[in-house]
Amino acid sequence: MAGRKLVGQYAGFVSRAVGLVLDYVVITAVVVGVALFANLLFSAFRIDLATCSNSRSVISFGASACQAGRWFLVFLAAIFGPFYFVVLWMLTGQTIGQRVMGVRVVRLSGRRVGFWRSLARWIGYQVCIFTLGLGFLWVLVDNRRMGWHDKIARTCVLYVWPAQQNEDFIARVNRRFGRHKANT
């Protein structure tokens, strides 16, 4: 296995998809962790967070506090995802998953990814999700490996580590699928 270094080249679908999955694992872990902590906190006051029944509560305003806690959890679940993506893209150009996978979001103009650009990219994510992932899959066929969210925000995703692919394997794959080109 040998190969040229791909640092600074467009990142492909698999690296980006694995990064996205890792991001959703992180988001889910945070939301579930906060929910468990809230449950622990309320159970200390003998309040069941699931039903908000305060029959055994040791504080008089237990039911109200429980309702507030539930609304907070709903709010957190709704807002944490966009907050996570937008803030991390804005600050470092990388989410945690993208950092693990060694890719970074950059603007085509070379300027930093600001708040509005990050927000536009997150909205692009939603567009891709609502089109059953077609926008994400566009990375596979686009000449600059850009998904719809990249096109909306005018950003691209690049490798930021000296990435090397298994050239022997890729050569075998090319030979296998190169026949199609010869036939057509």
Binding site: L40, T92, L158, Y159, V160
Partner: protein
């Protein structure tokens, strides 16, 4: 179940009993293997539970000691451990509650629909339903009967297999001339100079303990370095796999859409590429130091 059906059910041949009877005359390797595996699981489960009970009894402190109040870290750790236990208990109670609830709901449902099912219009369905129920009961009884007899046989078989296996290993090791010679030689050497071993162990042990006491950071660094190195290695392996996967999947996708295989990607604009150079961002300071 009617008397006739019960009689009919009782006169049917019992496959479990038949198998046991047949086995008295013939050897069935498959059945013996199943019996051995079941026996091993049963014995293993029993010994695990017994060992857990022993460990719990050994480490039980009576009365429970109230731990000294620690820092914030201890408090958070304690809360996490407590939460784990509390969650496990909650799950157990929830499962138990759900089982009880399902029985109650099923009973209530049955009581509620009974007046309807007892209606004469449903009479034609009574016989098939009862037959199915009777068949289910008979199956359950049969399984219980097989289980009662097979459990003892499985335990006995697994116990015998384990005893004979241990005995065979001991016999092999005992009868092996190489092992025997080695043990004899070591024993003879130690018998001749018992103080040698004593001194060696004590001296080396003291030396290592003293060194570790003086330089604990070396061990810490070693362990941390190993852990970090392994994590980095795994991360790089995963990244290399995904980078290869990027090109592979693209090639497959292009072939599926009957597009020509891509030779090379166009390079990104230099301005964008500049942003991707490690070291451009605060988080890449470590990369600059390393390179």
């Amino acid at each position: 179940m009617t008397d006739g059906e019960a009689q009919n059910e009782n006169t049917q041949p019992d496959p479990g009993q038949d198998a046991a009877q047949q086995e008295a005359g013939t050897f069935d390797a498959y059945r013996s293997l199943v019996r051995l595996l079941v026996g091993l699981v049963l014995i293993g489960g029993d010994s695990l539970i017994g060992r857990l009970r022993e460990w719990e009894a050994t480490h039980q402190v009576d009365p429970p000691v109230e731990p000294a109040a620690g820092g914030d870290g201890d408090s958070v750790l304690g809360a996490l451990v407590g939460m784990t236990f509390d969650t496990a208990e909650m799950i157990r109670q929830a499962v138990s509650g759900a089982a009880g609830l399902s029985v109650t709901v099923a009973g209530a449902m049955w009581s509620a629909v009974r007046p309807v099912t007892q209606y004469w219009l449903f009479r034609p369905f009574w016989l098939p339903v009862r037959t199915i129920a009777a068949r289910g009961e008979a199956k359950h009884e049969r399984y219980a009967r097989i289980g009662r007899s097979e459990e003892q046989r499985s335990r006995k078989l697994a116990g015998e297999v384990m005893d004979s296996l241990i005995e065979a290993i001991i016999n092999y090791v005992g009868a092996n001339p190489g092992v025997e010679a080695l043990v004899d030689a070591q024993l003879a050497r130690l018998a001749a100079h018992p103080e040698t071993l004593d001194l060696l162990v004590r001296g080396a042990g003291d030396r290592y303990i003293a060194y570790l006491n003086e330089h604990p950071e070396n061990v810490q660094n070693l362990v941390q370095g190993q852990a970090a190195g392994m994590a980095t290695e795994v991360r790089d392996d995963v990244r290399t796999l995904t980078v290869t996967g990027d090109t592979f999947l693209e090639t497959v996708a292009r072939a599926l859409f009957r597009r020509a295989p891509r030779e090379d990607l166009p390079p990104p604009p230099p301005e964008a590429q500049h942003q991707a150079i490690p070291g451009r961002w605060a988080g890449d300071i470590r990369y600059i130091k390393e390179h």
